[in-house]
Amino acid sequence: MGMVRYIANKLFYMLVSLFVLVSATFFLMKAIPGDPFTSEKKVPPEIKARLYEQYGLDKPLYHQYFKYLGDIAQGDLGVSMKRLNQDVSHLIGQTFSASLKLGAVAIVVSVIVGVVLGMLAALYHRKFIDSAAMVLAVLGIAVPSFVVASVLQYVFAYKFGWFPVSGFKGPLNYFLPVAALSAQPIAFIARLTRSSMLEVLNADYIKTAKAKGLSWIQILSKHVLRNGILPVVTYIGPMTANVVTGSVVIEQIFGIGGIGKQFVEAIGVRDYTVIMGITIFYGVLLMLARFITDIAYVFIDPRIKLSGGKEG
C-alpha cells in the first residue's frame, strides 16, 4: 500500500514537472519576436498565409499549444528551423548513440573508481591514502569539468601524444573525455562512500561479525560494502544530471558528434526548435533518472520511511 502510493506520488510529480517544462518551451518560443518565416526573403502575403496555414500558425494560440503537446506526446519534436527538413527527433536519434556510449562509460567508471577510492580512504582513515583521496575529491568537486577536459587534452593528447586530441572512433578516444566527465562524480561518490563507510565500520554489527570470527574479506564484502554504498544510490539522479550537462561541454571540446555538440551548435545559431527539442529530451532523461533513484532507494534500504520524505 505504502509502496504503491509512494511510487504513484513520485510518478505524478515527474509528469507534472515534465508538463511544466514542455509548456515553458512552448511559451518561451512564442515569446521570441518573429516567427520561423520572418527571416525569409520577401514573400507575397498569399504565400505567407499559405505557409502559416501549412504549419498551423493561423490557428489560435491555445489550439497551437494543444497540438504541440500532442505532437510531443507522440515523440514529434518538430522540424529544425535552420537546417532544411531536418527532423529534431531524427537528429536526436542520430546523435544519441555517441552520447549514450560516452555517458554510460563515464557513469560506470565514476561508480567503480569513486567507491574504491572512498573505501580505501575509509579503511585507511587518517592515513596518507585518506588525505590524498580527499584532496583529489575536493579538487574534483571544485575544478569545472571543461577546465579538467582542456588540461587533460593539452597534457596527454597534445604534449605527450598518448591519446588522440579529438574524434570518437576507437577505444583510445574514450580515455580523456571519460576522465574529464567522471572527475566530479568520482569526487562526490568517493566522499559519500567514505563517510558512510566510516559510520558502518564503527557499527555494532561489524563488531559482532568480527566476534563471530568472520574473515576480514567476508566482513568487507558482506557487511561493510553493502551498507556503505547505500548513499551512492541517492546520487544516481544528480550524477546523471552531472554527466549530461558535462557532456554538452566535453563533446564540444573533444569534437564528439553527440547530442551535446548539437545542442551547443543549435544555441550558437539560435535554432530554437532544436534547442527546445533537446531540452525536452534532456528533461525527460534527467527526470527519469531522478524517479528511478527515488524508487531504487526505497527498494534497497528497508529502513527508509515511506512518509514522503525528501532526499537530503
Binding site: V16, G268, R290
Partner: protein
Amino acid sequence: MASDNNLVSVEANLKPEDFRKVGIDERQAEVIQRESLSAWRDAWQRLRQNKLAMTALGILGLIILSAIFMPFISKYNYYSNDLMNTNKPPSSDHWFGTDDLGRDIFVRTWYGARISLLVGLAAAAIDLIIGVIYGGIMGYFGGRVDNIMNKFSEILYSIPYLLVVILLLVVMEPSLGTIILALTITGWINMSWIVRGEIMQLKNREFVLASRSMGAGSKRLLFRHLLPNAVGPIIVTITLSVPNAIFAEAFLSFLGLGVQAPISSLGSMINDSLTGWLYYPWRFLFPAVLVSLIMLSFNIFGDGLRDALDPKLKK
C-alpha cells in the same frame, strides 16, 4: 623507615591555626569562572583552528581585493584592442600576455573575476532573500500553506536547473542582469528547504512557546526568534551556493550565453581561449586557475564553516 619519620615530623609541625574551613558556599557555584562565549565567538574559535578553512578564507580575501583593485592599478583596460600585439606570451609589459585582439589578459582576468564574483554573490543574495521568505512562510505556518507551497517548489525543482537557465537565456538577451535573474529562477529552492526544515524544528521549542505566551506576534517570533536561530545553516548554504552560481555562469559563458564581449568573465575568457589554446596556453591558464581557485576556496571555506557552526555535523 626514614619516610615514616618524615611524615611524623611534618604532622608534628602543623598547628590547628594552619587549617581553614572552606565549606561549600552555594553562592560561589554561580560565579562564572571562564569568560562566557557567545555561540558566534565559539564558532569563530573553532573556525580559527581549522587551518585549511582559514587559508581558503585568506585566499578568497586576496582574490576579492585583487578583483576590485587590480583593474585600477594596471595601465591597460579590459576592452582596448591592440592588433600589433596579439597573442603575446606573458612578459614584463603584459604580465599574463595578450589575447587574440591584443587585450591585456592580466586586466581581463581580474576584471573577469570581478564579474564572476559579482554574479555569484548577487545570485546567492537573491536566493537568500527569496529562500528565507518562502521557506520561512512554509516552515512557520505549516499545514495546508506549507503543503501547497512545497508542492510548487518541488515541481520547479524537478526541472533540471541548467536547462531552465539555458532556456531563459536563449530567449532573453544575455546581459549581467538577465544572467543573474536566470540563475536565481530556481536557485532559491534549496535555500527555502533549508530554512523550512530549521523553522519547523525550532518552532516547537520551549523558548518559542515562552515568547508566544508573552504575547509575541508572528512577525516578532519569525524575525526575532526563529530566523536568528537558523542563521548558521543559512550562512553555510550561501557559502556553498556562491561557487555553484560561479560555475553555472562559467558554463553558460562556455555555451556563448554568458556576458557578451568586450566584458569578460572567467568563463567567457576560457571559452574564447579554447580556439587556439594549444598554441597560446597562457590565454587559458590564468582564468582557468583563478576560477578553480575561487571554487576551491569557497568549497573548503564552506565546509569549514559548517563544521564550526554545527559541530554535531562534523564527520
